[in-house]
Symmetry: C2
Subunit: 131 residues, 2 copies
DNA sequence: TTTCTTGCAAAACATTTGCAAATCG
DNA sequence: CGATTTGCAAATGTTTTGCAAGAAA
């Protein structure tokens, strides 16, 4: 059943970039990082690999509301916070108090599979610079 | 200070469509609705008007992770839930228990201005059809 | 007139797709 | 060999932009 992983050079390199990235890179960021490492894969291949890695459960795709998808090598259940000033994206590990999802199921009649929260605010460094 | 509202025919018609829409229309949906009402505005004008209405605080723009932005005439604080099967988007009025945002501020050091949660699941009708 | 708004077309951007060539098993 | 993956380029979908023409103040 569990078809085995086929990590080509492209996929492995991209996985490594996402995994070791602190800043939730977009596909374009990954292209840059590849170039820095002396690789040059086609855009199509990058998207293809990201999809493969996402489907394989090795990384997660984040759609945070800015135009481009970001990718996250951190698999544990968590949410994200975006700085409105500098655009930085950080992880949020505090989970919402439990009864919420149940309440929402009762309110909406949906069977909930998943939920993701995006916080927006001002990050510590931008606060320090007086904004 | 509060510059006064300039509602042209285009803006007013689009506002009316968003306000009276139950299904969080995208720009393309709005184009369709306009056509049904016998209007035909340029795409640029539709986006321009949506931006104006959003900035004026009359509607809200939703970026829920699917490709196109949706627009919502419901201004009260609420979240959204998307059916994974049929793509329908519904409102969620149950709010997360209060201490969460504070906890996140303490965890991240951010000053939080806003947060939006997107639930995914299966809507009542799709459940009924046995999925 | 001066300012704002529209319409249209082109550009920009992120992503997907089709297909031939290369690679893997 | 057959199956999968890559590279490239073209196509797609969404949104923005530039600019001339039109409407409003």
């Amino acid at each position: 059943m569990s078809s085995k992983l086929n990590l080509t050079v492209q996929r492995e390199t991209i996985y490594d970039i996402v995994k070791n990235s602190i800043n939730h890179p977009t596909a374009a960021d990954i292209m840059d990082a590849l170039r820095e490492r002396g690789h040059q894969f086609a855009y199509g291949t990058v998207y293809n690999s990201l999809k493969y890695l996402t489907d394989a459960g090795l990384i997660r795709e984040l759609k945070l509301g800015d135009s481009a998808s970001r990718y996250d090598g951190q698999l544990s259940d968590h949410n994200h916070i975006i700085c409105r000033v500098c655009g930085r994206v950080d992880e949020v590990f505090a989970t919402p108090p439990d009864p919420w999802a149940g309440t929402v199921e009762r309110e909406t009649g949906y069977k909930i599979q998943n939920h993701q929260t995006v916080f927006t605010g001002i990050c510590p460094s931008c606060q320090a610079e007086g904004r």
